[in-house]
């Protein structure tokens, strides 16, 4: 079965056509610059076999990006998809496993709009475009929140009045679940133990967003993101954790304009807001190198970014104890040894120590960069959300081709 995985970002569309169950990638790529025209023209980087081509094409929205991608794939009869999988950021409490999309599930996903006003709409528009062009093609939704459905009630409950929690469906949902779930499985395989016997802390550190996840028995028991992808670590333009009173003071200063406050906390804070230089923490580390101790904005940004990770590491190493593995993944987690080194420094009390030379040059991934005597193994694992989506789609369609999410209602669902 050939499954096309689609990963819809705010201005991008990643895709990968995989042959399942082998997982071999037949083609893949990324449409960049989706949306209104900007200085850098929109383009599609398409790889197939050993070749990569780049095409500059106008991509005013995700539907047109999808149409161009399908044009590229349909040129080769060996690249026709049998099913499509979509990454959906927010499934609420309602969707806790992959579901086949039909009119009914689409209506239910639409009703979650309040929970994810920024993230779900582009994907839902893409699904509609796909259904219109290929009405017979099975489509499956895979949710970033689903892996965190196992977070126990005491960890997912905010200490707010029950009426508010119920009415607005306020609870911790967590995000990056496809990635956390994928690397947890890879770690268990790497360590040669059943997934259900693995306690771990997974650090998904991307150049945009990032989160940590405490994993016990292969299941998520806590994560740094919450009701939305805003809290937790310091991210590229998101503030992460923030005293509620500060948000209230901002609200007062912005004359109760909640959209303006959201814009500040989502788009002008984090690494960019603190440094005033770049939203990519890798630029900050590069600039900070050799300028340590100067208390510049660059250095305090780097320090705060690392410290927030360290704090949560301590919290989750305790919550998921005894932990067998600490996992680093995504662009920063895989590609910046200094982040791993700083985050793990001084955690010997937790039975965790890095081998500096292994950490500096981990070699082919997955790799173990812990010292020989470290009780906690430190693994660097390449995340592959597209492959995880394809695997979930394959499992969903093989297990029950006509499955409907109403078969999977969980406790706490909204009526």
């Amino acid at each position: 079965m050939r499954i096309l995985s689609l990963n819809c970002g705010s201005s991008s569309l990643k895709y990968s056509l995989l042959s399942m169950p082998s997982g071999e990638e037949l083609a893949g790529g990324e449409a960049r610059g989706v949306g209104p025209p900007i200085a850098v023209p929109a383009s599609i980087v398409h790889r197939c076999g050993t070749g990569t081509v780049r095409r500059t094409v106008p991509l005013p929205d995700h539907a047109s990006a999808f149409a161009r991608v399908m044009d590229l794939l349909s040129a080769d009869p060996r690249l026709h998809a049998d099913a499509v999988g979509h990454r959906i950021v927010h499934g609420g409490a309602r969707f806790t496993r992959p579901v086949r999309l039909d009119r009914r599930t689409m209506a239910e996903l639409d009703s979650l709009g309040d929970l994810a006003p920024l993230h779900n709409p582009p994907t839902l528009a893409l699904i509609a475009a796909c259904a219109e062009r290929f009405p017979a093609l099975p489509q499956v939704a895979v949710f970033d929140t689903a892996f965190h459905a196992t977070i126990p009630e005491f960890a997912r409950t905010y200490a707010l009045p029950a009426a508010l929690r119920d009415r607005l469906a306020i609870r911790k949902y967590g995000f990056h679940g496809i990635s956390h779930g994928f690397v947890t499985g890879e770690a268990a395989e790497f360590l040669g133990r059943p997934r259900t016997a693995l306690n771990a802390v997974s650090c998904h550190l991307g150049s945009g967003g990032g989160s940590l996840c405490a994993v016990k028995g292969g299941k998520s028991i806590d994560t740094t993101m919450g009701y939305s992808p805003l809290p937790g670590l310091v991210m590229s333009t998101r503030c992460g954790d923030l005293d509620p009173a500060v948000t209230l003071r901002l609200l007062a200063r912005e004359r109760e304009d909640s959209a303006a406050v959201e814009n500040i906390l989502h788009g002008h804070s984090g690494v960019l807001g603190m440094s005033g230089f770049s939203s990519d923490i890798r630029d900050i580390f590069a600039r900070a190198k050799g300028n340590e101790g100067r208390c510049s904005r660059i250095e305090v940004t780097a320090q705060l970014y690392l410290w927030r990770i360290r704090r949560y590491l301590g919290a989750y190493l305790t919550a998921a104890a005894p932990v067998a593995a600490l996992i680093f993944t995504d662009s920063v987690g895989e590609g910046v040894p200094a982040v791993r080194e700083a985050a793990c420094a001084g955690l010997e009390a937790f039975g965790l120590s890095l081998d500096p030379s292994r950490n500096e040059a981990p070699g082919p991934l997955p790799a173990d960069v812990a010292a020989d005597d470290s009780a906690v193994r430190v693994l660097v694992i390449h995340t592959n959300e597209e492959r995880a989506i394809a695997k979930a789609v394959y499992g969903c369609l093989c297990a029950n081709p006509n499955a409907h999410p109403s078969d999977h209602r969980m406790e706490g669902d909204r009526p």
Binding site: Y158, L160, K172, P244, R249, S269, A315, L317, G351
Partner: protein
Amino acid sequence: MNILVLNPAPAVLGYTLFRPPLRVPVARGAVRGDPGEAALLAVRTAVSAETAGAGPDLIGCRVVQGGDLFRNAVCVRPGTMRAIEGLVSSAPLHLPPLLALLRARAAVFAGVPMVLVFETSFFADLPFRENACALNAACTEGLAARRRGFHGILHEAACAHAAARRRARGLQSACRSLSVCLEPTPEVAAAVGCRPVMTSGGSSPLEGIPGDTTCGEIDPRIVIELARANGWGHEKINQVLSRESGLLGLTGEPVTIAGIFDPATRNGARARRVLAYRLLLACGAGAAAMGGVDAIVFSGRYASSMRFLGPWLRGRLVRAMPRAGEEAVAIECMRDTVEALVAAQAVAALPAREAAFQSRLTAARVRTKSPISTSRSRAITPHFARRRKNVFPPPSSLSDS
């Protein structure tokens, strides 16, 4: 020798009168209404019987916010009030009542030295990486966004207590303490020796661990959603997050931290699990900040809950840190009240030229026969971990002119 401790808050003025050894109050109470001259007169009347009409010899005042200026207790002198006025925006509810007290003091307690003891002083040297939030500096200007902690007086004493107990066991290395302050707004701090390196507290009492009625840490987007979906303004949201959340929100009834450990409390189990888990996460973060843990020390009015929380927290921490045995992590309790600690700090903060006062106090301590001969009746001494340099100039006079 009478030392009056004042605790000004919105619409209420708490007072406690001590005599050496300072630990057991001889009078205490609260005067309803905004602190000011009338409230101070009521306090003077209330304690006059205990002072044989002479009034207090020294006033200590607990202050929740000292900003960057007040890194130690200070005697009130000309200019103090002006400095406090500059901090009002950072604690708009708590500092105006203090200012009202300072204005009324000369009329009610003329000539009596007054010392301000700040909850934030202990955290004055908290590393930037711990006290900062990831906002654009232009956005935070005037927002008082810096994390300061709110129970510094208890934390400082608790960490000093744990360190002293460790030394008494013959262990000389700096004590890595997790200080669990169980007040209506609970707070966890981590300190190496008595130098804080982490706190769960924020720039307001809302942040951190859920309290009796405060929400604790929540996703910032929830605040935005409450404004967007309900059309609420910041004051209404603040009311909900400050007064209707926390353990009240979880159980649906007014309950304290001690109350949720009572099996009769409705929905107590859920609140207990939420609170205990949040404390555990904070302790884990503190342990990471210190590179290990030597002691968990409880303080605050609900410190008795350590019976349940102490062994559980220790067990979970030791499971995470396999190289430390349970015996390596002590569970301690610092039972002094914040009022007694304010009194002790007030005495210690008097300037050298008040040596006569100090020696009278020492003499009084020697003469005082303690009513009960337990360790709790020992004379309280100020738990100064270290002296921090005040940015605010040292006192040159004992009273506002």
